[in-house]
C-alpha cells in the first residue's frame, strides 16, 4: 500500500497531495497527517471520491488513516 505523508503541511496541501494520489488511480492509500482540519478535509475528499475511510491511529495530534476504494 502506498503511504502519503502530509504531516505539518498548511492548508490546502494535505488535500491537494491526497487528491493527486487518488487521481492516479490507487485503490488503497495510507495517509499520515496532523491536526483536525486536515483530517476533516482529507476525509471529505476521500468520501466524495468513493473511498472508505478508516482511522487507524490517533495520538498527540497525529493521525493515520487508510483509504480503500469502495465497490
Amino acid at each position: 500500500m502506498d503511504i502519503l505523508d502530509v504531516r505539518g503541511l498548511s492548508c490546502p496541501l494535505p488535500v491537494m497531495k491526497t487528491k493527486k494520489v487518488l487521481d492516479s488511480g490507487v485503490q488503497e492509500l495510507q495517509i499520515e497527517g496532523t491536526g483536525g482540519t486536515a483530517k476533516q478535509n482529507v476525509t471529505r475528499l476521500a468520501k466524495s471520491q468513493g473511498f472508505e475511510v478508516e482511522i487507524k491511529n490517533e495520538a498527540d495530534g497525529e493521525w493515520t488513516m487508510v483509504l480503500t476504494k469502495g465497490k
Binding site: G8, S10, P12, G36, R44, L45, D60, G61
Partner: protein, 359 residues
Amino acid sequence: MDRERAFLVATGLIIGILAAVLVVMGNPGNMGFCIACFLRDITGALGFQRAGVVQYVRPEILGLVIGAFVAAFTAGEFRSRGGSSTLVRFFLGMFMMIGALVFLGCPLRDILRIGGGDLNAVVGLAGFIGGVLLGVFFLRKGFDLGAARTDKGSQVGGYILIAVAVVLLIMLVGGFNVNPEAGGPLFFSKEGPGSMHAPLWISLGAGLLVGFLAQKARLCLSGGFRDFFLIREYGMLLAYLGILVGVMALNIYFGNFRLGFADQPIAHTNHIFNFLGLFLVGLSAVLLGGCPLRQIVLGSEGDTDAATAVLGMVAGAAISHNFLLAAGPGGTTPWGEAAVIIGIIVVSFIGWAYREVEA
C-alpha cells in the same frame, strides 16, 4: 444539507448578526468585526503606531483568541507546533496587513461592508478573489512553505499568544496607563473610529463566541474561494453567505443599510486600490494557508507559525500608520499605493520561489 454545511451556515449567520449588533452597540460603521482594523487598533493602544484616532485594545480580538483556544483545547486539538518558514510567514502577515489597511478592512469586514450596502467592498471582493486565484496558481505550481513540526515535548510555545491575550485583557480591564503624562500606553482614542466601541464585556463575549465557532467550523475567508477553485468544494462559501445574509438582514432592520459607493463608513472610493489592496490580502492569505481570522484561530490552537503571522500583521499595522501607507476615508496615499504594488511583487516572488521541485 449535511451537518457540517448546516453548521457553516449557522456559524456565518451568527457572526453576521453579532457584527450588526456590535455596530448598534457602538462599534464603527460596518465594523462589527474586522481582524485587520482591530489588530491595528491594538497596535495603536500599545503605542506601536501613533495615529490617535485608531487606538483601542479591541476585546473582540482577545475574545477570539481565548474562545478559539477553549474550543481547540477542549476538543484535544490544541498542540504546540511550528517551524514552517516562520520568518517568511511574518512578512506575508505584514504585507497582508498593508493590503488590508489600504482597502480598509480584512476579508471578513469586506463581507460586512457589502452587507451594509458599501459597493466599494464589491470591488474589493473582486480583487480578493483575483488574489486568491493567483495564490491558487502558485499552489498548482507546487508552492509549499514546508512542513511544521508538532512539539512532542514542551507545549509552552503554543501558549504564548494566549498569554499575550490574557495579559492585554488584564491591562484593559485594570485600566493600565504606564505613562499618564504621555497618555499611555495603553493609548485610547478620544475621537475617530478608535473611540467608537461596544461595551467591553459585550465585545469580549462576542469575540469569545466567534472564536469558539470559527475554530469549530475551521472558518477561513480565503479558504472558501481557494477550495472552490482548487477542488470545487463550496462548503465554506456557505459560511460567507451566512455572514452576508445575517449582517444585511439586521442592517436593514436597524436602518444601517445604505447602497452606494460614496460616503460609506470608514471607506474610500479609489476602485483601483480597493481592488489591489484586497488582491494583496487574498494572495498573501492563500500562501499563508488562511485569512487573517484563520491565522488568529490557528495561532490560538498552538500553531506558532500562525501566531508569528499575526505578529507580522501587527508589524504591518505599525508600518502602515507610521509610514503613511494606510488609507483613510479621504482616500489612499501615494506611499500606500506604492506599498501595495511592491507587496504584490514581493509576495508573488515568494509564491514563485517556494514552489516544490518534483524529484
